[in-house]
């Protein structure tokens, strides 16, 4: 009950804080802070003169806020977003602002806004903030900083406000805005605010323009070694053309003379006409390397950062340079079992990255489903790479099961820096541990099997 009450109040506090930050300039906030201090000390007018400071600052603020009511302006804004961005990498997009007024406008501030989403009570209770361990007990118990972080994560990015010094009447101006994406997935743009802090520079009057849009943010990509694993090529039933186009299950390799018994549909009519003897097309069954990349999504009692690392590594491996004809299967279990194939004319890296951008962790064990999915497809795979989030009993079972397959399997285990990473299982199955704090260094020393 207390938690619910606190949670409801937190939302109000957050909204108020957000409003303050948007509406008041830095000097305005300073004056806003001075008012109660001067008011408290100035309560006894015979002891101090700070009531005079109180009254001056209060009048200044009221004057500034009153003028905000008279801000008029007709603007339109068009956002030009790139196709996608990457987590943590600042990206610039442009905004075309049209001043439809009969007067020029000066000292405008353009604030582009991402949609603010609040977590539900359940989500908030279950959320884990890696920064919590550095916070004091009060903050940890109350949880407001955790809520702020959760909201920022749901919002997904931070956008710097920009200042437009001058825009002429009935004219347009193109500006560049910087966005720093904080999470992967789709970011929802909500509105754009045009603000002006006239006349006293303390309080901003704002014009809110509804401007909805969305932008895909891809997982962070690390530099990974090229996928050159020593797996055998496997026979692909139906050939890859079966997957990429509808038609024959064999692949054309050359032309040769007709032999009795060759099907008529194999005759190459153009060569027949040219050489005046029957020539047929020769096909070959497909054998090629197919990598299976298994992503563990079951996250329990571990930081979401570990899951983000796992997704980033999966994305990095999917985009890493691989053999020209190789295929790469991405497999994971979410609400269903998913298997996506890329390479050789199938889905490109961009499609797979889009899928990875939207993968969410699962909080109920799905290791059995992963095991059965991998068992079904293992005969087609030349090599398996398995990215694990933890090493518990069920996962140890999965490792044993996969190690029993007749193909090379490489296990990557994501770990917090303070986690125990020594053990029999690690040595026995050659599990490569990747630490969160030194991910790139660990990837640099990653195997070539």
């Amino acid at each position: 009950m207390l938690r619910r009450l606190l949670f409801a109040n937190f939302k109000l506090v957050y909204r108020f804080n957000h409003w303050l930050r948007q509406r008041f300039t830095s000097t305005g906030i300073l004056i806003l802070l001075i008012i109660p201090i001067a008011g408290i000390f100035g309560f006894d007018t015979r002891s101090t003169l700070s009531f005079q400071i109180f009254s001056i600052t209060l009048i200044l603020l009221i004057t500034s806020m009153s003028f905000a009511l008279f801000f008029k302006g007709k603007f339109s804004i068009v956002r030009k977003l790139p196709d996608y961005g990457s987590v943590g990498t600042p990206l610039n997009y442009s905004c075309v602002i049209a001043n439809k007024n009969r007067t020029a406008k000066r000292s405008l501030v353009v604030i582009d806004e991402l949609k603010t989403q609040f977590p539900t009570m359940h989500e908030f209770s279950n959320s884990k903030d890696p920064q919590d361990k550095n916070r004091n007990r009060f903050d940890r118990f109350i949880g407001y900083p955790r809520l702020v972080n959760a909201i920022q994560k749901l919002r997904g990015g931070s956008i710097k406000a920009i200042t437009v010094d001058y825009i002429a009447e009935q004219s347009v101006l193109e500006t560049s805005i910087e966005l720093i994406p904080l999470r992967r997935g789709y970011l929802q743009f909500d509105n754009t605010r045009i603000a002006q802090a006239k006349p006293l520079g303390l309080f901003q009057s704002q014009k809110i323009i509804d401007n909805k849009d969305r932008l895909l943010i891809l997982p962070k990509i690390y530099k990974t070694p090229g996928l050159n694993l020593q797996g055998k090529r496997a026979y692909q039933h139906g050939g890859i053309s079966n997957a990429s186009i509808v038609g024959d299950s064999q692949e054309f390799i050359s032309l040769r003379d007709y032999n009795p018994g060759d099907p008529l549909r194999s005759i190459h009519w153009r060569s027949f006409a040219k050489l005046n003897k029957p020539i047929v097309k020769e096909y070959q069954d497909e054998y090629f390397t197919r990598y299976g990349l298994v992503l563990d999504t079951y996250l329990l009692n571990k930081s979401e950062l570990i899951f983000e690392d796992a997704v980033s590594i999966a994305a990095s491996l999917m985009t890493a340079q691989k053999e020209q004809d190789a295929l790469l299967d991405l497999m994971f279990v979410g609400d269903n079992a998913y298997r996506f194939t890329s390479g050789r004319g199938l889905a490109g890296a961009a499609n797979i990255l889009e899928i990875l951008a939207c993968v969410e962790p699962v909080y109920e064990s799905n290791i059995k489903e992963v095991e059965s999915m991998v068992r079904q497809v293992s005969h087609e795979c030349s090599v398996l790479i398995c990215i694990l989030l933890a090493l518990d009993e069920s996962r140890t079972g999965l490792i044993k099961e996969l190690s029993g397959l007749n193909i090379p399997v490489k296990f990557l285990l994501l770990s917090d820096s303070n986690e125990e990473t020594q053990g029999e299982v690690l040595k026995k199955y050659d599990i490569h541990v990747l630490q969160h704090d030194s991910l790139q260094q660990d990837l640099d020393t990653l195997w070539i099997m």
Binding site: R21, T25, S26, T27, L30, I34, I37, A38, F41, G42, T45, R46, S47, T48, L49, S50, F51, Q52, I53, S55, I56, T57, I59, L60, T63, F67, R106, S107, V109, P130, Q131, N134, R135, N136, D139, N149, Q152, S158, K160, A161, I162, T163, V164, D165, Y166, I167, L173, E174, T175, S176, E178, A197, K198, P199, L200, G201, L202
Partner: protein
């Protein structure tokens, strides 16, 4: 694009206008009878405008200076409460410019050009570099120091009429500094008159209260 200026520190405090720290310290010294100290402090704090000599303080140094200021404040509070009881709160208020002097010196003579919020708040310091940019940033404490000097000066409780006019002038300086670019537009003259009118009303109210 020429008309667009990217000001990422839009929400960060700008430095105090040149001379305002000196002026506010003089007011404080005048009101609280620390005039000699105020002159010395004012000169020392305004000197970085004219000289280029700087010290390369590390974050740890600044943190230690902030901690030392905190300890000085604590000892001062205990000492004054023991000697002056509850009325001592106004005495503490009077001495606040002394307490914050170390941090102001570090800002003025340091290469960092501001004080990190992690130096001022232990909770942010504990988060380390992992703290978000919305809580961990450098801020200039010049303007807050000016306001602290003003409130400290008010505790001297002398020459109330002059104090009020000087306060008005200082607030105008702050506003002019914040709005330096557009202050001289035509309509600002009109707005200034309105502000003057409001101040006069305010002044009448103060006189009535004082009587």
């Amino acid at each position: 694009m020429d008309n667009v200026s990217d000001k990422p520190d839009r929400n960060k405090l700008s430095p105090a206008p040149p001379g305002l720290i000196m002026a506010s310290l003089l007011l404080w010294g005048w009101q609280t009878e620390f005039f000699l100290y105020a002159v010395i402090m004012g000169v020392v704090l305004e000197l970085p405008i004219f000289i280029k000599w700087r010290i390369d303080f590390s974050d740890k140094d600044i943190n230690q200076l902030a901690d030392l200021s905190g300890v000085i404040f604590f000892i001062l509070t205990v000492y004054i409460f023991v000697n002056y009881s509850f009325q001592g709160i106004y005495k503490i208020l009077e001495l606040m410019p002394f307490v914050l002097l170390l941090l102001m010196l570090a800002q003025g003579y340091g290469l960092q050009n501001g004080i990190k919020t992690s130096a001022l708040f232990i909770s942010i310091r504990r988060l380390g570099e992992s703290a978000g940019s919305d809580v961990l940033y450098k801020t200039n404490i010049g303007l807050p120091y000016v306001f602290i000097c003003m409130i400290s000066a008010s505790s001297g409780n002398k020459f109330s009429d002059y104090f009020f006019y000087i306060m008005r002038a200082y607030h105008c300086m702050v506003i002019i500094h914040a709005k330096a670019k557009i202050f001289f537009e035509n309509h600002m003259a009109c707005l200034r008159r309105i502000c003057h009118f409001l101040f006069l009303l305010n002044s009448t109210g103060i006189s009535a209260t004082t009587i």
